[in-house]
Structures are given as structure tokens and as C-alpha cells.
Amino acid sequence: MIPQALLRNFLYLLRGAEYTLLLSSGSIVLSTAIGAAVGLLHAFGPAPLRILVELYVFLVRGIPLLILLFAMYYMLPYVGIDLNPTAGGIVVIGLYYGAFMSQVFRAAILSLPKSQWDAARGLGMRLPLALQIVIFPQAFRVAAPPFVNTCMQLVKSTSLVSIVGLWELTMAGREAVERTLAPFQIFAGVALIYFCICFSLASYGRHLEKRMQYVH
């Protein structure tokens, strides 16, 4: 049985995948930047800021991403802000995953043994220098696997923007199904494309995890 409907629409789906990658890249960059800043704040900042960060993480952990996407697309027009839909998607997903990234980075920094801090301070290094040449290079290696895994979750989450009307792989899939009335084929194809992207990321993450075991 040749999946004719899928083959005919595969290129269309791939174009949708391009948008998925575009959305994902933008969101990854944003969430990494937010995550790094917030993670540092959470680890070293003054108490009131740390509480704010914990509130941020609490909210993101407890509220579905879809609700936030709805909030953005339905509420913002009322407040007068008219945002380009793609940019809006990147901002919401970036802000959402920023919280998860912050936890990844904070955990990585805190996982380093206190003795490394002792050694750095004992040599007369101050916090910024110690972070730059001793802590971050080591934390980076520790953070790499969960970072890649979070990126993978982010890519999967981009499928949600199809519900608020943004065009990407999942939306392309729905349109193709309406055209061809072959949902099994088309969505299997959509799943396959997501699988290729996410499996690569997941494998890379596992590879990074294995490499870590050799260093320490």
C-alpha cells in the first residue's frame, strides 16, 4: 500500500517543518538567554529576586503553555499591543521555556563541588572571574545534556501554535488532511518528520551524557 496522499503532500509538510525549525530556533535563543540570566539570579542573587524567580518557575510549571498562547493571542489585542504572530509565538514559548532553562543552568552550577569555589577564592579570584574561568566552563559541560533535552521538548511544543492559528508543520498537516482526507497517512508523515528532528536531538543528548562520564 503506497501512501499516495502523504507522498503528494510531503513537500508541503516539509515547508511546514521549515517554519517549525524557525520558530524553534528563535525560541531556543530567547529561552537560553532568559534561562542563563534567571539561572544566575536564582543561584547568586539577593533574596527578594530569588523569590521572584521561584514564583516565575512555579507559574510556568503549573500553567499549560496553551493557556499562555491563548492569553497572548486573545488578550494582547485588547491591551492594544498588536504583535506579529510568529514573533508572539517565539516570545511566549521563549518565556515559558526560559524558566526550564534557568533550572537546568542553576542545577549545573550548583552541582559543582564547593571545593572548586574554595580553590578559586583561595587564589584570590573574585566572583566574576571565578565564574568565567572556573565555574562556567565546567557547568557548561554538565548542563549540555539536559539543555539539549529541553530543546527537544521545545521543538515538540511548537506544535501548539497550530491551535492558535500559526502555520507550521502541524498546521500544514491539518490542511493536508482536509485536502486529502487521509489523516492516518498525513499525521504519520507529520509524526515522522518530528521524530527525525527530535530523535537527532535526543541521541545527541544521550551522546553528551555518555561523554560526561569520562571527564570526571
Binding site: L66, S162, A191
Partner: protein
């Protein structure tokens, strides 16, 4: 910003209906995922290599595809094939299948984290493989498994919101309808957010209680 509390109060029954559906879907998905996850975990840790590979491939498949796509696959696929599964059942199936995979890995990690020495100790005392599992390994694995399981339950609760895209009248769907009908987007969003936070908060709280209870036995 002025909050129209009356609006929220007036529509409480409607929110309540959506909340009930969300809770139902969440609880059933959690239950099925835990059971299915057990099955998959057994496959993953089986002696037969082909079983392990099959289970591994299954887990990889459900983990590397978005749950929304899985929901669409089941919902649109079966309705067009004539089976006509409701949105609720499709959503439940997709959530159970996907989270079953994640939970299987949680079970496996929990069991494998129990030091091999303990298993050897049990065997040395003459216990059968089954005895070792149930008396030595499982009770300890249980404690370690609570936090990641609670986490996964929270993920399930949040993912039920996706069922709103396949015509399930859950909390998110109610919110969407209300926002479209009235202009009170702000109140609707706030109420829904708070309700979700309550649900996930309860799970977190229960998880911490359970952890503490188990910690006493150590």
C-alpha cells in the same frame, strides 16, 4: 487593572463543568499511563532481547513526537475510518500512550537505581528473584520514583489542555469559548490559570507529603 469578580462568579458553574472534564481526563490518563507504563517497563527489562528492543523503540517513538500530533492521528484517523472516537477517548488514549512511555522509564530508573549489592545480598540469603524484587527492591524504588512521577502527573494535567483542540469541553475549551463570547479575556485567563495552578499544586503537595512519609521509614 480592575477585575470583574462578578463575571467570574456568574460563570463559575461553566468553569466548574470544564474543570470536571479536565480532572476526569487527567485522573484517567494518570491511571492508564501508570498501568501501561508498568507493562512497557516489564518489556524494557525483560530477558528476551527482542522485547527490550521493541519496548525501547516504542518509548523512543512516543517521546520524540508531539502529543498533539498523536491526538490528531487518533481522533481524525479513526473518525475518518468510521470508528468515530470521541475527543475525550482520543485524548485519553494519546495521553496514556505517550505518558506510559515516560512512566515506564521512570519505573526503570527507579528500580535500576537500587544498588546491585542489595539484590546480591538478597540472593545470597537464598531469596528467589521475585522475593528480592518485592521485598528489597520495590519498597526502596517506590520512594525514589515519587518525585519524577509527580512531575509526570503535572505534565499530564497540563497536556489535557491540548484536548481542547479535538472538541473536548475541558477547562481550556470553556476558557476559549468564554473569551470569544464575552470580552473578559483577562478574567477568564486569570481564573483558568488559578484553577490549573490549584490542580498542579495539589499534586506537588501530595508528592511532598508522600516523600516525607516514606522518608520516615528509612
Amino acid at each position: 487593572m480592575p477585575l470583574d469578580l462578578n463575571f467570574i462568579l456568574r460563570n463559575l458553574p461553566l468553569f466548574g463543568k470544564g474543570l470536571v472534564v479536565t480532572v476526569e481526563l487527567s485522573l484517567l490518563a494518570i491511571l492508564f499511563a501508570m498501568v501501561w507504563g508498568l507493562v512497557v517497563a516489564f518489556g524494557r527489562m525483560a530477558r528476551a532481547r527482542w522485547l527490550r528492543t521493541l519496548a525501547g523503540a516504542y518509548i523512543e517513538l512516543v517521546r520524540d513526537t508531539p502529543v498533539l500530533v498523536q491526538m490528531y492521528f487518533i481522533y481524525f484517523g479513526f473518525s475518518m475510518a468510521g470508528f468515530g472516537m470521541s475527543g475525550f477517548v482520543s485524548g485519553l488514549l494519546a495521553l496514556s500512550l505517550q505518558n506510559g512511555g515516560y512512566i515506564a522509564e521512570i519505573y526503570r530508573a527507579g528500580i535500576e537505581s537500587i544498588s546491585v549489592k542489595q539484590v546480591e545480598g538478597g540472593k545470597a540469603l537464598g531469596m528467589s528473584r521475585w522475593d528480592v524484587l518485592s521485598i528489597v527492591v520495590l519498597p526502596q524504588a517506590l520512594v525514589r520514583v515519587i518525585p519524577p512521577l509527580a512531575n509526570q502527573f503535572i505534565v499530564i494535567i497540563k497536556d489535557t489542555s491540548l484536548a481542547s483542540a479535538i472538541a473536548v469541553a475541558d477547562l481550556t475549551q470553556i476558557g476559549k469559548l468564554l473569551t470569544e463570547r464575552t470580552a473578559a479575556a483577562y478574567e477568564v485567563f486569570l481564573t483558568i490559570a488559578v484553577l490549573y495552578l490549584m490542580m498542579t499544586g495539589i499534586v506537588s503537595g501530595l508528592s511532598r507529603l508522600a516523600e516525607r512519609q516514606f522518608a520516615i521509614y528509612h
